[in-house]
Symmetry: C2
Subunit: 469 residues, 2 copies
């Protein structure tokens, strides 16, 4: 009997018959589209099959099948992950949630019940129809899924005031490794009955279960913001301004771009940015108009006090949009200069200056371009490492720098990942970030939930180490 990676064709037929018609894909050309997320993990395997689940029932059937046959299952949303959390495992099943995307907004409870494949932007739009707002806004919000956002506890630009994905997750339905679907939490703003397993699943990167439904908290629509942009001749002045702003007020956005980023954006747009500036800050206040004007005036004064070379503020939506475009263009603009390795290291705010200067040092030492953008207000930076993919030696230096940046963040009391997740790419650094004892507890929880390690094996944890536990 024909064998595909440990499962014979008769067995595979069982899977096909147990899920909705047309959801199992084994055609090699299509499988190839499901091997990588945006991290382009070079060690990604080729899956045995992709199941594009149409319902929670399909997810259950897939996990029951995988559990019986000990087959790895890699859950996948929109494939926009940046740490290799959805790299396919050789001979495993990729369980895609992309077709489960219903959204049901309840304006009375200000909640939305959402399937995992719905895009972040679709949830925002559905909320907006009722005058409501789903705040978390990863830069990829137009093409990332809510399921993936929950799996990585995704952040974004407004988190400095409005918190991260976890702060909006009230309840989940989750399919466990054995195929059982359970309900955790729900549309209740306060609930302390039993352990908070809902929050344990948030950020668990598909290693504990597969999310089939989420109940999200919505808030009233955001007020139109007032926007300020400031440029600085030195990095220190910029990061000192960030600290002065963030420790005394609550802007709704506090973003940072360094000189390489400013220049890449200017190359791409010719919008007239100051190529000589060491750094640029973009700040917003969404307080009621008069108070926002007051807050922005204070921020203006703070930036001036920290030697800003230029400060410009506006409450005109079109002028503001032109400024925000600069920030939004940053990643694609830098990407024109080569292939990117995206970091998301974070530090306690007073160490932001040390981190940014240290990254500059690493770029020099490894002789690679590193452009830094940052959700500066929460100390969360995105060093973008640029390399020529055809130059193996340069590629190696970029990968070395990738590790150096994480080492630096840990040394400064920070984290290796603020909002992208550990995935497979950052796994070797996890122990340095959280320590042996916390990692040991992680293993114990993982073993309790998924004793056979069939759920996203290789993500977060080394399968060989788990096996020994």
């Amino acid at each position: 009997m024909a064998q595909i990676a440990g499962v014979n064709t008769v067995q595979l037929q069982q899977l096909i018959e147990s899920v909705s018609q047309g959801t199992v894909i084994t055609n090699p050309a299509t499988l190839d589209n499901y091997r990588w997320d945006r991290a382009n993990d070079p060690s990604a395997g080729t899956p045995l099959a992709v199941v594009r689940a149409a319902s929670a029932h399909d997810v259950q059937a897939t996990l029951r099948f995988a559990n019986v046959h000990d087959i790895p299952v890699v859950p996948r949303g929109a494939g926009s992950g940046l740490s290799g959390g959805s790299s396919a495992v050789e001979g495993g099943i990729v369980l895609s949630l992309e077709n489960m995307r219903e959204i049901d907004v309840d304006p009375l409870t200000r909640t939305a019940v959402v399937q995992p494949g719905a895009l972040n932007t679709e949830v925002k739009a559905a909320a907006a129809e009722h005058g409501l707002w789903y705040p978390p806004d990863p830069s990829s919000f137009e093409f990332c899924s809510i399921g993936g956002n929950i799996a990585t506890n995704a952040g974004g630009l407004c988190c400095v005031k409005y918190g991260v994905t976890a702060d909006y997750v009230l309840g989940l339905r989750v399919v466990l490794a054995d195929g059982k679907e359970i309900t955790l939490g729900g549309p209740r703003l306060k609930d302390v009955a039993g352990l908070n397993l809902t929050q344990l699943f948030v950020g668990s990167e598909g290693t504990l279960g597969v999310i089939t439904e989420v109940t999200l908290r919505l808030v009233p629509a955001q007020r139109p913001p007032t926007t300020l942009v400031a440029t600085f001749a030195t990095l220190d002045d910029a990061t000192s301004s960030v600290l002065a702003i963030a420790s005394t007020m609550r802007p709704s956005m506090l973003e940072f771009m360094d000189r390489p980023t400013i220049n890449a954006v200017e190359d791409a747009t010719g919008m007239g940015l100051d190529r000589e500036a060491a750094a640029m800050l973009i700040v917003q206040s969404d307080e009621p108009a008069e108070y926002a004007a007051h807050e922005i005036a204070e921020i203006d004064a703070l930036c001036q006090r920290h030697n800003a070379s230029e400060v410009f503020a506006t409450s005109d939506p079109e002028e503001a949009e032109a400024i925000i475009v600069a920030r939004r263009m940053a990643i694609p603009a830098v990407e024109r200069h080569g292939t990117l390795l995206l970091e998301d290291v974070g530090v306690p705010l007073p160490r932001l200056g040390d981190l940014v200067r240290g990254i500059e040092g690493i770029a020099k030492q490894q002789n690679v371009t590193i452009a830094v953008i940052a959700h500066a207000g929460d100390g969360n930076t995105h060093p973008l490492l640029v390399f020529d993919p055809t130059d193996d030696e340069q590629k190696q230096r970029a990968h070395d720098a990738y590790g150096d940046v994480m080492d630096l963040a840990v040394q400064l009391g920070g984290t290796i990942t603020g909002e992208h997740g550990v995935g497979r790419l950052k796994r070797p650094w996890l122990v340095d970030s959280i320590g042996d004892d916390a990692l040991e507890l992680n293993y114990q929880v993982k073993k309790a939930f998924d004793p056979k390690n069939i759920l996203n094996p290789g993500a977060i944890y080394d399968p060989a180490v788990l096996q020994e536990k």
Copy 2:
């Protein structure tokens, strides 16, 4: 050799020698003070000893000793719990954190590193010295500890806008069942390295480990609020107003009192409340002054539209304080009429009316007084069951009603506990609240963290059931 509940005096001497001098208490009169929290659990046992830890080292030594000798350890903060989470276990150790109360505020990162015994009010005061604010405000904030707040994920009045304790916990140091102290999270606003074990400990009621230090997020000081009070001739008008307000704006307080509560407060204060009103709402907005006036005017109009019999709004701090006093007096005022059983059931907001009316029905059916106050804006109610402790038959009816109220909340899609915890008193209803499957996962996590069940045995989980797992 003399034996005290399975441990002989030589062994107890080992414990005494392993912790700071004078921290172990075995004197029966003093032990008696550590048998109960505010739930006055009739099944509380008599402990072998109380350890009043002076340091994390004492906590570690106590757990090492308990682990070797299989002795139950009940962690205890200020003893203000309302669900029997700190009832002493017969022959066990009560591990009191009341003397570990250091507070260290860092205004730059807007965080505070706090020991578990510090009172909530002390944390608020320390933050205020730097112009900062620690929002969570359980009604007991003047005499409850931060450790207990974290153990129960305590809520309060401002949570309707500012979230619960969990939203302010960035990091923890925790001593595990075997005496190992670990660090989880820290002063980073975004961190997704590994599972979110920090949040798993929040609300775990001392069943997974003992908190020895917490890193709390602080926010800028609250603006002075504008206050509105409205009375209604019918319960339906009051709960409809709550729904109308909460689904369209974000007041910083939205409290409810029913007729029995209003009358108890009027009995106690003679402040001139309307004894005929079916319910009273107290609402605050802490937006910038002009906008708050606008928001309060909208709330005023909403209440009028829902047939409020009287509405009064003020931005005068003294007038506001007089109104808030009515709310703050509610529990002590009702308590003058007998012994209390305090509930904290919650429902999705559209079911608030059904819950309050249903509780009225239960009070009639069981022939007991139930006064209802509520953090109405998050659907979290506090039915106060009043009984004469010398009347066994009445006491029994009150206990029956206590269960009926939880059954009703579950039936309405709610929770048996919004902010007090399951403890020992609510344990029999946990399975109905979260379901068999979620409870099973709870058991698995508990077993992974505390295989011998020495950590607060009897709280949340039935020890006999855990034993079989």
